[in-house]
Symmetry: C2
Subunit: 338 residues, 2 copies
């Protein structure tokens, strides 16, 4: 049974049934009318969109469709988290080759629905189109905190000389997982890395705590820390330095890739942790608040890995423990360049 | 020069420069940060998304990239109009084959920007990804009218026995234009039909006037009147009848396609006019208000073409002037079926 057999309208009905019932009472019109309608739950709205294309952003056959569904929504949640906002409403577009098995689309929607349920996102609508190549596009809104009449945000352009650079969680696991997927067979420890590549856990918790504690500058680590921090530095007119030996490595990464682990952590991308830029004492408070919330008094939730060195044109220097510059074969991802 | 030469980040900068400066003061963070941020200008928000895929939804080489850009946004505006809402903020996703000429993407953005300027839409952000096939996806929000604390909408599920069915403007022009494009060379009159296929003019004016005058049920005509009215009837639990001889035909259509014009008008699709369902006196008021606004005292702006015959399972019967049933080879579009 493929999607030509069900047709567009019956498929939409089936997919709708796979989604969790939205928790929010703010959804006025959901899937089935021309447009979705909801009540804005905050005066300010954050919005983002991201696409996964088969063969470009994931390897069909190597990963499960439910993992693809989870990731399609989760990458958008990560961007909303990086603004310090809380995810709210999603629109989902499926571009389907006619021979797409119905079971694959349903599995994708189950994974997407799991992610929606976990992060309290209401899937409010979307679109299904025929296309020669499979892709899934999610557009997601988020509720922005306000202080009085002003929005309170984590922006790219708010880094200042004297700030330090912290990262949440651990890095490099996603790049390690991708390398394992590309190689073929994956063992037990490897599976954990693959999970970090597909079942990403966007840091909505860290974004909300950061903005509450006065952090005003952040980005999510999607293209690789060196490159993403470069976006922050260029937008802020500053330069930065990152200590490659201080990067918190994903569990199992150093064992699986002893040569490359540090490079995966600084340039691998797709970890979807947050890079936070703020005065050191502020990041220490965020770290303490995250540890308290996680019930983990020991171990760092935010690791300080670098600093803003001064005003500049957006240069990020990666250095080792002796302060010597480290050459990166690639700083991160550009999705179009040869 | 293709998009591999510019790369993702420089391309986004170039495209941003092609967009009109947003009129609204409500945009807090535009293109360039992680997510866009805006101030919600109404308590209720409508949202929709639609995709155009090269070779599926348009014929590359036969249409201009600027027309594709206009249409990509305009089809979404039409859906917002069909809810009785006013378009507001858009996110644009481009999926680009690596060999895409930069000039094509820029032309697309010029057309999209023209449409944004015409309909007062702020393009707030988006995404650029590599893909084997070109597509453009727009997600669009709209401001919904409220009466007290309740949203006032044009919904699919509000048709009632005794209501009549009216359509704005004229029908079939888009289908005629598509047929001409598929055939090759297009003459002067034909160009006007092709314009109706690509440079569609969503009826935000009609949606707003309809909702203001008490209409509560509508849909935009994207898949063809017979099929779109079927969506309304199923959602509302009613049946309907459409008089094929009463359909207002696009100028030049009957001359270009004497045999098929009526069928193009009832099942051709992509006219992006509105089908309004309401008591007859209400639609007469909407017609008068639209004529007054257009400064055109003569000629119908809303043509009554059918009626809701009673409660039912969503059947739409197409009849001729003698009330005899008309067989349609195809009722409209399903985007997946064989």
């Amino acid at each position: 049974v493929d999607v030509r057999d069900t047709g567009e309208f019956a498929l939409i009905e089936r997919l709708r049934a796979l989604l969790p019932a939205p928790e929010t009472g703010a959804l006025v019109v959901g899937i089935g009318d021309d447009a979705a309608v909801w009540r804005a739950e905050s005066p300010y709205v954050a919005a983002t969109t991201d696409t996964l294309v088969a063969g470009v952003h994931f390897l069909p056959g190597r990963v499960s469709w439910s993992d693809v569904g989870w990731k399609a929504l989760a990458v958008n949640i990560s961007v909303i988290a990086a603004m310090g906002a809380a995810p709210a409403f999603a629109l989902v577009t499926l571009a389907l080759p006619p021979e797409t098995p119905l079971a694959d689309v349903e599995a994708l929607y189950r994974g997407l629905g799991e992610c929606a349920g976990t992060y309290d996102v209401a899937v409010a609508g979307g679109d299904v189109v025929a296309a020669p190549v499979f892709s899934v596009t999610v557009a997601l809104t988020g509720r922005v905190r306000a202080s009085g009449d002003a929005p309170v945000l984590l922006r790219r352009d708010a880094a200042q000389p004297g700030d330090v650079v912290g990262v949440t969680g651990a890095l490099g696991g996603s790049a390690g997982g991708l390398r394992l997927l590309q190689g073929g067979a994956v063992d037990g420890v490897g599976q954990a890395l693959v999970q970090r590549h597909m079942r990403i856990r966007p840091r909505v918790d860290a974004g909300e705590i950061a903005v509450k504690h006065g952090v005003r500058c952040a980005i999510d680590i999607s293209d690789g820390l060196a490159q993403d921090l470069g976006h922050v530095c260029r937008a802020s007119g500053v330069d930065a330095e990152v200590r490659i030996d201080r990067l918190p490595l994903a569990p199992g990464l150093a064992e699986a890739f002893p040569e490359d682990a540090r490079f995966m952590a600084v340039a691998g991308g797709e970890d979807y942790e947050l890079a936070l830029v703020a005065p050191e004492d502020v990041l220490r408070e965020v770290d303490a608040a995250l540890r308290a919330q996680a019930g983990m008094p020991d171990g760092e939730q935010v690791t300080i890995v670098g600093r803003i060195t001064g005003e500049g044109e957006g240069r990020v220097r990666v250095v080792d423990e002796r302060g010597a510059g480290v050459e990166l074969a690639r700083r991160g991802w550009d999705h179009l360049r040869r």
